[in-house]
Symmetry: C2
Subunit: 191 residues, 2 copies
């Protein structure tokens, strides 16, 4: 998606440790007009797939998911990072490693809000090693719901997550794929 | 706001410890159509106030803020709960107690995204004792920005937060004010 790539080139900052900082429009300050264009594009890509629920994970996926959901006329469910290790039977639960924070979180979704009848589009801001996405996919599987596919804002194509998940036969649509980036020069190359 | 009150009566659950659970449409599963009506109402209430930024706090405020921001044609900034105690000079920082989780979080906003020129509307899902709201208000003050007012989805009128903040001369608009609720009977009375 040209608009997103241009914005990344203009405002994204490449930090050491393969971190791409897009705090100016996606992760801290949010440009809702850009999100709306992204939502339209997800709706175009998945227009024939009868999506009736969007699943994301707190926190930075929520804005993208909510605005995209307006184009699907469906609700959003966001998986929560649980503070307790003691998860009740009312929740589906999965462990997710965080690439950015180098931690592991228990991520939960209430059984009430993810059901067999659901045709779920997973939306998230980043796809790198795929830990968060695989966690959300497992929650959908545990619920017996149908995974329609994934909609990602920015995929780091040089990490293995997207490739592995697509190899499992899962549809992954990324609006911008970064093929390489360089913390020394600040260069970002798209796929 | 009638629509929100009706939804709270229909789906809200009163739990012990003054907890009102609205997971079915606001805090876990999100009804984006309802959020859109709420956003329109905030825009109507603050239509003459030249709002050019919406400030909220992760996680559950983000969806409401993003959809409301579409009606103000302005960006959203969400304050982040920081994992580190060591905050760099690039951030405004404040301690916020969580009513729900009985914890204290350091909450931060990048100095880059909150400026003197900003006319800020604070949006959040709940107002109870007012800790989160007071934290966000302090961040705005520290930045030298102008606080236009606050837009709250659900205020617990029987707790002291809203009253105290209004007594400080700050405009607070809550779309639903719960005057009393009863965990034994499930009764919810609006103001």
């Amino acid at each position: 998606m040209k608009l997103l790539e241009e914005r990344i080139l203009k405002e994204g900052k490449v930090l050491s440790g393969n971190v791409l900082k897009v705090d100016g429009f996606l992760n801290h300050r949010i440009d809702v007009e850009l999100l709306n264009e992204m939502g339209k594009e997800f709706a175009r890509l998945y227009k024939n797939d009868d999506v009736n629920k969007i699943l994301t994970i707190e926190a930075s996926g929520i804005g993208i998911a909510c605005i995209a959901a307006q184009h699907f006329s469906c609700p959003v469910v966001f998986a929560k990072k649980s503070k307790t290790t003691n998860i009740s039977e009312d929740f589906y639960c999965v462990d997710v490693d965080s690439f950015t924070h180098k931690t592991t979180n228990k991520v939960i979704v209430s059984k009430e809000y993810l059901c067999e009848d659901d045709r779920v589009l997973v939306i998230d801001d980043f796809l790198a090693n795929g830990c968060a996405l695989r966690g959300l996919i497992k929650l959908i599987k545990d619920a017996g719901a149908t995974l329609v596919g994934c909609g990602i804002a920015i995929e780091k194509g040089f990490q293995h997550g997207g490739k592995e998940i697509r190899n499992d036969g899962i549809r992954v649509e990324s609006l911008a794929v970064v093929n390489s980036m360089n913390a020394d020069t600040g260069e970002i190359v798209f796929g």
